[in-house]
């Protein structure tokens, strides 16, 4: 079993109203100077060995359905899975915090939203502009440790 990640982004010349809305919301929250374009991430669990042919097939799938190449670009990459049992593999995303095993689907979403936030703040440390700096540092550290 291999995991292939397909990232889909709106082409640069195409207006991205969702990204604009997020950009505006960030600015209102005090995260200045951050411009967002919003895309999609697909995680594909591919059965069997990931040969070149199989990867080419995944690319065809991405081009056929996952992305509309009239307005979007896509990128296909193979994600290394950590050596672990199946269950852990399922949660083996890079930013996973290794919380207790009570993660329902909705928990997952909540956490990944948080994590996304903390990651962003972690990266924007240099700018030192966040009022929640202390907290976000902690979160970023947590994420780093877990990742």
């Amino acid at each position: 079993m291999a995991r292939v990640v397909v990232d889909v982004m709106p082409k640069p010349e195409i207006l991205d109203p969702q990204g604009k809305a997020v950009t505006g919301a960030l600015a209102r929250l005090g995260f200045a100077g951050i411009s967002v374009r919003q895309g999609k991430r697909f995680e594909l669990e591919v059965e069997g060995e990931l040969t070149e042919d199989r990867l080419a097939e995944v690319r065809r799938a991405a081009e056929t359905l996952l992305a509309n190449t009239v307005i979007e670009t896509f990128n296909v990459r193979v994600e290394e899975l950590p050596e672990a049992s199946e269950e852990e593999e399922d949660e083996g995303e890079p930013a996973e915090q290794g919380e207790p095993a009570e993660q329902g689907a909705s928990d997952d979403q909540g956490e990944s939203a948080q994590r996304g936030e903390s990651d962003d703040q972690g990266e924007s440390d240099d700018q030192g502009e966040s009022a929640n700096q202390g907290k976000s540092d902690e979160q970023a550290q947590l994420a780093t440790q877990a990742g």
């Binding site: 010349e13 207006l15 604009k20 359905l65 509309n68 009239v70």
Partner: protein, 226 residues
């Protein structure tokens, strides 16, 4: 015998019944078609109605475009059968590459629902022959992802070849390039538009009866063919 016009119902279609009704009011024979069938039931024209087929998952029209009935619709369109996509149907036609370009979220970032003024830019299609060129009409527009986009070369071609059929008038409600509200393919048998002609066929339920000309155009075309 009145020409048979099919209306495809996808899971999540909303305006299929209104489209069937519009056909009946304009004296065609409405034929309900099911997305999961691979037969067009001997219809002479097909309408893909408005709504949120397959929940608009992935992208509007992206999954419906691969519904079994679409294989037949694409085949029929390629052989010249009149095909009309209204709103979600327009999105499906773009996803199916029967029409160029794509529809993205409104630049105003809200769902727009209004009586929209339009100008008819071309009457050289099977769906618009009963209009007059430059005619100004009003149709209901109700969509969240009605922004028409295409690359510059496609836009130039559409404008140059008279494939822009309807243009938003007075104000652009959704950020569509060149104020484009509806287009057709090179042959003129496939037309897609965001506003809803099927909601504008009688005085009781619509702001105008301007939508009737769409249905009478294709009915006259089909009657003349026989």
């Amino acid at each position: 015998m009145a020409p048979r016009i099919g209306v495809v119902t996808f899971p999540g279609s909303l305006d299929d019944q209104d489209a069937l009704r519009a056909i009946r009011l304009c004296e065609g024979e409405p034929v309900p078609l099911w997305h999961g069938n691979d037969s067009l039931d001997d219809v002479e024209a097909v309408i893909l109605p408005g709504g949120f087929s397959y929940g608009d998952y992935l992208r509007c029209g992206a999954i419906s475009r691969f519904a079994p009935v679409m294989t037949e619709v694409i085949k029929a369109a390629d052989s010249g059968m009149p095909v009309l996509g209204i709103c979600n149907g327009f999105q499906i036609l773009c996803e199916a590459h029967l029409l160029p370009g794509a529809l993205i979220r409104n630049d105003v970032r809200v769902f727009v629902c209004k009586d929209q003024d339009l100008r008819v830019e071309s009457v050289d299609t099977t769906w618009t022959s009963e209009f007059s060129r430059g005619q100004e009409i009003t149709l209901v527009l109700k969509s969240g992802e009605g922004g028409y986009v295409a690359d510059e070369e496609t836009l130039r071609r559409l404008e140059g070849e008279g494939q822009v059929i309807f243009r938003y008038l007075n104000s652009n409600p959704n950020g569509s390039y060149n104020d484009i509200a509806g287009i057709c393919n090179e042959r003129g048998n496939v037309v897609g538009l965001m506003p809803h002609p099927e909601h504008n066929v009688d005085a009781l339920t619509g702001p105008t009866r301007d939508g009737r000309a769409i249905f009478s155009s294709v009915l006259n075309f089909l009657a003349a063919k026989v």
